[in-house]
Amino acid sequence: MDPREQIDVSVIIPVGERQSDPAKLYAEYRAGLAATGRTFEFVYIIDGAYPEYQAALEKLAASGEPITIVLLTRSFGEATAVSAGFDKASGEVIVTLPAHAQIDKSGIPALIQQLDSVDLAIARRWPRVGGPFERVRRALFHGLLSRVTQLRFRDLGCSARAMKRRVLEEIQLYGDQQRFLPVLADRQGFRVREIDVPQSPEDRYSGIYGPRSYTGGLLDIFTVFFLVRFTKKPLRFFGMVGVVTFGIGAIAQLVMIVQRMFFGQALADRPAFLVASLFVVLGLQIFALGLLGELIIFVHAGATKDYQVDRVIQFTSAGVPVTPKLEPKLDRTASG
């Protein structure tokens, strides 16, 4: 950290596959930040090999712009890139922005202003362009997501977000989980708000999304489902699935055995019996996996916590607050 000036806002920009012209985008973002009247710095993370982008940034940095560039040896994914950038960021407010134009510059001060009342402010591009197919796809994804998480976020694809420093200190993201930061932050007890932000005129994807983006979206929802719903109670999930599978198989087997014994229907030439035993076995395996999961949770229960303490308040006899005892996790970052 530079001791000479206190930086208020650190902007983290992970540079991945999708990019806009670096100099133009930087000027845009810079104008948006200047409107807040706070001091700021930029941290770019080159997540992969993009020498042209890097050269453009180095040119900007050489001309005196407050830019830090972090180079990663290969592409690690957006979330990892953001946490690599976070290590170099010193502001109390962290803003993540995409390396391709998504929101209009007027959205940046609006997001930062929200932090007066919430811990994490996320942008929803609105009004928004996009054909009917695209709209249906988005509605499907977010509808399914809100069913799973019970949270109503309408544009997790937009990576323009402003947050207090402690959000990133406490939440460990990896791979492509960046877009689910709001979901995980809410679970961690942070206040999250989604605000409408005008879309950048350049943010227009004209192609049609292929089936890959659908399967990708489904996989994402699956990931969130696991992170949110079941990491603490594996047997509730596995147990249910296992018992149902086992039950189906066992009943089918029983029916066939009864038919064999009392109605003279031969068992030997019925492949259905094979399917039924597969179900029984499968159910048992799933249940056993749930037990293993419970065991893992149990033996590590001392290290993982169900809850987040906001603060501990105690006073000395003189009515002076005792120095708050911070949670171990915060303690470590505060001293290091």
Partner: protein, 319 residues
């Protein structure tokens, strides 16, 4: 600061009508006992004025510590947080809604001093609705006692006393506050049960209830398995695997014999046998993995044994 002997842990969730009365009642009950004590008030993400009132109380009484949650997490996490932040050697948990009577604390302390590790309250004259509260609760208690082997008449009573070193090392998560004695039974504690007063709720709405029966049943299953199989996962999985192995071997043998001697129609039979045999092998392997997990974890049997042991040594006899 000197460590107090007694910590009273009270979770509050939207109890602005009750918190001041609760505080006064606890102080009035414990001060005559002449023990050092502290109070840990856990604010479970209240939406009303509870937390400010709690801080106000703490400002005037240094024995009060307020633990504020960032949002509402439920009763078990609130209890767990209170337990982790308490520093007394005896911990007492109770509800924040004045349904428990702090005057009973005296009896709990006496029971702990008799050498018990856990003392649980029994609301023998429970002041609640019969059909919606008392009957389901009686059935649940009977079931919990049968399954876990810890026969307690009233698992739902929040008023309990614990030896601090024991309860701090028992993992509490999910919705296990109803099963604390059962969960603690993995450490083999001495458990006693005493009658406590129960008052009807005077102010505010009931916040926690026996909300979903199926959750209780699943949790019960988890606790039963954890409490009984934790120290020996391999044994447990092997027991799961044995029926599969027997059935598999019989079916495979019989099917093969049929195929060799008479018809070739016995293929499904033999394959079923093969499948269950394979399954039992995989279960056995899962047990081995379980053993590994257990070895690497930090909740091991030796630790639990240490929590409740009593040592009588010749060294103590010497002056």
């Amino acid at each position: 600061m000197v460590e107090p002997k007694l910590s009273v842990i009270v979770p509050f969730y939207n109890e602005e009508d009750n918190i001041q009365r609760m505080y006064a009642a606890i102080v009035a009950a414990i001060e005559p006992l002449e023990v050092t004590f502290e109070m840990v008030f856990v604010d479970d993400g209240s939406k009303d004025n509870t937390v400010n009132l709690a801080i106000e109380i703490a400002r005037h009484d240094q024995r009060v510590k307020v633990v504020k949650f960032r949002r509402n997490y439920g009763q078990t996490p609130a209890m767990a947080a209170g337990i982790q932040h308490a520093s007394g050697s005896i911990l007492i948990t109770m509800d924040g809604d004045l349904q428990n009577d702090p005057a009973d604390i005296r009896n709990f302390l006496a029971k702990i001093d008799e050498g018990n590790d856990i003392v649980v309250g029994w609301r023998f004259n429970r002041q609640d609705k019969l059909v919606s509260r008392k009957i389901p609760s009686r059935m649940a208690n009977w079931l919990i006692g049968k399954v876990t082997g810890v026969p307690i008449k009233d698992n739902g009573c929040s008023l309990k006393a614990f030896r601090g070193s024991l309860i701090k090392n028992i993992p509490l998560y999910s919705e296990m506050h109803r099963f604390i004695p059962a969960m603690a039974s993995i450490a083999g504690p001495r458990i006693a049960e005493i009658k406590v007063q129960h008052h009807a709720r005077q102010f505010g709405q009931s916040k926690y209830g026996l909300s979903r029966v199926y959750k209780v049943l699943l949790d019960l299953m988890v606790i039963k398995t954890i409490a009984s199989f934790t120290p020996r996962p391999l044994l447990w999985f092997t027991m799961l695997a044995i029926p599969g192995m027997v059935i598999g071997t019989v079916l495979l043998g019989y099917g093969t014999w049929l195929m060799l001697t008479s018809s070739s129609h016995a293929l499904p039979l033999a394959s079923s046998g093969l499948i269950s045999l394979a399954s039992s092998i995989i279960l056995f392997c899962s047990g081995a993995v379980g053993e590994l997990v257990y070895k690497l974890g930090d909740m091991r049997e030796q630790q639990f044994a240490r929590l409740t042991r009593r040592v009588s040594s010749h060294r103590q006899l010497q002056p």
